[in-house]
Amino acid sequence: MRNNKSKVSWVKRLTTAALYVLLFSTVAVVVDAFRNSDVPESVPAELSSLTDINGEQFNLREMSKDGPVVLYFWATWCPVCPAVSPTVDYAGHYYPTISVGLRSGSNEKLTQYAQAKGYEFPIVNDNLNRISSGWQVSATPTIIIIKNGDIVSATTGVTTPPGLIIRLWFHQFFK
């Protein structure tokens, strides 16, 4: 009897938990849709190809055919970015991740900064604001998730590790 009861309550608890997760992820995704309406709907053709400070080439449209890709806009002068960058760095172990450093100085400075902070994600130097203005991104930190060449999520401001992971899962499995 007792065993049965506890089993039932476990199932119930799990369902409740699952419903909450679903609710939060839906809210997160819907909020994203409104949060950054300026961002283009798909990867602009002229900005699909990016070269990082080590000379490595990335093609966002091609890469995002296999699954979600994270594009992260940040800056060395942005006091909030150090709170978000480790999350992106962590996501970089599981999903293709590229970052764009906004008006943060020379390649050398960006390399040193990333080394000092332990960031492993590739960095594209956007010292003249060209890439970010093409993406209509003016504020840092901004995290964009791209899938099949489309921008499926764009968040500006502080993102927590679960927030980013839930978004990535959502776009990997449900869309």
Binding site: A75, P79, S138
Partner: protein, 695 residues
């Protein structure tokens, strides 16, 4: 007909001509500029119309409007951020643009400290023309940083034409420029910087700066024009003020390797009430003595303080009873004893952690935090009265009735749940300890409340572990219980003695309530509690015990009374009627000091035992009592028995978080000399003299 035009027509033409001349020569301004992608920020660059011929300077104003929540940064922005910049390289006939920075403020975003501005602000600019230039063009890009939880760098194109020959002074702007310059720190004599040390070992700068008129609430901001230090971060300073001497410690960090700062020049901006100065500070290599107590010392103090709590009258009965029950039920297995005491220890430690979390939450919510504030809440005191009273009654055996068998059975089958009871006992011990914490834990708790959240948790954990030490000792070595004295006849005295201690605590707490309730209610409560207690004693132990108690109480009262009367002349002489004290306000201090008075400040509370000890032992005793009564002494008292925002602010301004707090101000010490927590007659007399003495 007259060929001459009528006078009114002439004046009209003249007015029109003048007007057009004026509109042609309008003082240049960009008007408000904002970027479509970033509406929260707008900027405006305008000239005042003045021209200083000697150095070819034209003063200009850069106005910045930031929407609520947005900030921009100072020239050294702290741990993040970037200052606004103006790239005027496309200008013509401009030799230089000198940017002036008003005194900034400190902000914390996501735990990151930054230095900057919010709201509307004005940067005064000094634009220097090339010699002999009569016209110029100010052209370039103004880059403004602005952050909330996101950061934006926005460019504003600037294009202003300057024609010296038609330049007209705009008096409003000229006034605004002077006003803005008034907020810019002025360069001061660097002779006032008595010491500037860079310690490579501790990566720290120590500055000592003097000001003739003394310091009130100084703020310090560090900047360096040295390129090698462009990305260095100067931490929020740790400032100590002693009279007219300010000592500040600033940690310097860099995300790359920090260069050696010895020989480097820093610019120290210091602001205070109606004061803003800039000092050029060349750093000399040296070592910085760390005179603040290291964390381990504070933790040790907390540990010892916690341990001492066990012998306080409010806590001793709880531990005593536990040990007694252990002795009586000697047959218990060590394993069980161990678990029981361990559960109690956990109860104590978790209670302290809960208190710490509560304090942290209160601080986050912006509440004023101080130790002892719990005694400013009548409900808290009432709850403690009830708890201690019930506990005292329990000690007298009021609740030693048999549990119905069903409850007994369920308690027995609950197994490990019975340790809950021991855990709760530990929590009870902690709650009972709170009245006794104030005098012993002052230093540790004051340190904790000013520290970071993690340090608060550490210190309170140390307090908890300290208090739990005797319990843990028994838990770890259950055999130590055997070292306790053997049960015997003496044990029948233990409970009544503990009960009296507990009742004394109840009486003291009840007395505290009189500040919060009406006189009648208080009397009713005191009499009611006493009668009820006596009735219960009578009910449990019979009339004999009741009469014994009443008799014992009367005998005690008689003995104490007689002693008091017999030694009356000594007591009367020693405890005179207290002086009249004025209510403490900062204005009263300032006014009295300005009048050449010596000011004695006493911040006290009825629930603070140390305060009462200071009063009875020092303030009401000669020679202090007479000294305080002198004509040239102003007595100001802050009563913190109930929460009072003014007093909390005063304590905070003095970097302290609890009472007692005493300070003496005077012509020789306008910023006051702080007295130790525990007063002594000699120290008070000396300090009164020091504060009064003319320099």
């Amino acid at each position: 007909m007259n060929k001459i035009l009528p006078l009114w027509l002439l004046s009209l033409i003249a007015a029109l001509l003048l007007y057009s001349a004026q509109s042609l020569a309008e003082t240049p301004s960009t008007g408000w500029l904002s970027h479509k992608d970033h509406p929260p920020v707008s900027v405006k660059l305008e000239l005042t119309g003045n021209y200083e011929t000697e150095r070819n300077l034209i003063p200009a104003l850069l106005h910045v409007e930031l929407d609520e929540g947005w900030k921009t940064y100072w020239r050294s922005p702290g741990e993040g951020g970037i200052p606004p910049t103006f790239d005027w390289s496309e200008s013509s006939n401009i030799k230089n643009i000198e940017w002036h920075w008003p005194v900034p403020s400190r902000y914390s975003i996501q735990g990151i400290d930054t230095v900057g501005y919010q709201g509307s602000l004005t940067f005064p600019l000094m634009i220097q023309l090339r010699p002999d230039a009569r016209r110029a063009r100010i052209r370039g890009t103004l880059t403004m940083s602005s952050c909330t939880t996101v950061c934006v760098l926005t460019d504003y194109p600037i294009n202003l034409k300057v024609e010296l020959d038609t330049l007209i002074v705009d008096s409003d702007r000229a006034f605004a420029f002077n006003q803005a310059m008034g907020k810019v720190p002025r360069e001061y004599d660097s002779n006032k910087v008595k010491q500037a040390i860079w310690s490579d070992k501790s990566q720290r700068v120590q500055l000592t700066i003097e000001r003739d008129s003394g310091w009130q609430d100084p703020q310090l901001f560090i900047h360096s024009n040295d390129d090698a230090l462009a990305d260095a971060t100067f931490s929020s300073p740790d400032i100590q003020v002693e009279g007219n001497r300010l000592t500040a410690h600033v940690d310097v960090t860099h995300w790359l390797e920090l260069p050696d700062l010895s020989g480097a020049e820093l610019i120290a901006t210091v602001s205070d009430e109606n004061f803003a100065a800039e000092y050029k500070v060349p750093l000399a290599a040296g070592t910085i003595a760390d005179n603040s107590l290291p964390l381990w010392a504070i933790l040790l103090m907390a540990l010892v303080g916690g341990l001492i709590l066990n012998i306080m009258p409010c806590v001793l009965p709880v531990l005593g009873l536990k040990v007694q029950s252990l002795m009586l039920s000697g047959a218990q297995e060590p394993r069980v004893v161990r678990k029981q005491f361990f559960a109690s220890s956990l109860g104590i430690i978790s209670s302290f952690l809960i208190i710490a979390l509560g304090l942290i939450a209160l601080r986050w919510a912006g509440g004023s935090v101080g130790w002892g504030i719990q005694f400013q809440n009548p409900y808290f005191i009432a709850a403690l009265v009830a708890i201690t009273w019930v506990f005292a009654l329990n000690l007298m055996g009021a609740f030693e009735f048999k549990l119905p068998s069903s409850i007994n059975t369920s308690a027995a089958t609950a197994g490990d749940d019975s340790y809950k009871g021991h855990f709760l006992q530990g929590m009870l011990a902690t709650i009972l300890a709170t009245p006794c914490t104030a005098p012993f834990l002052g230093t540790a708790v004051a340190f904790a409340l000013a520290a970071e959240s993690s340090v608060i948790l550490l210190i309170f954990a140390a307090l908890g572990i300290g208090m739990a030490l005797p319990w843990l000792l028994i838990a770890v070595f259950p055999k130590t219980a055997k070292l306790l004295p053997k049960p015997g006849r003496w044990m029948q005295w233990v409970k009544p003695i503990f009960a009296i201690m507990m009742l004394a605590t109840t009486a003291w707490l009840t007395a505290l309530l009189k500040n919060f309730i009406s006189h009648e209610l208080f009397l009713a409560l005191a009499v009611g509690l006493s009668v009820l207690t006596l009735l219960i004693i009578g009910k449990i132990h019979g009339r004999k015990a009741l009469f014994l108690s009443i008799g014992g109480f009367l005998v005690l009262a008689a003995v104490v009374g007689t002693t008091l009367i017999l030694t009356a002349d000594r007591w009367v002489n020693k405890l005179p009627q207290d002086h009249q004290w004025q209510v403490l306000t900062q204005e009263r201090i300032d006014a009295a000091v300005a009048n050449g008075q010596t000011v004695f400040v006493d911040v006290t509370a009825d629930w603070c035992i140390t305060c009462q000890a200071n009063k009875v032992g020092v303030l009401l005793q000669d020679p202090v009592f007479t000294a305080l009564g002198q004509q040239h002494v102003t007595r100001l008292r802050g009563d913190w028995t109930k929460a009072n925002e003014n007093i909390t602010q005063y304590l905070k301004a003095n970097n302290t978080f609890g009472v007692p707090f005493n300070k003496v101000y005077g012509p020789a010490a306008p910023d006051g000399i702080r007295l130790p927590v525990v007063l002594s007659k000699g120290k008070v007399m000396d300090t009164l003299e020091d504060a009064r003495a003319q320099q």
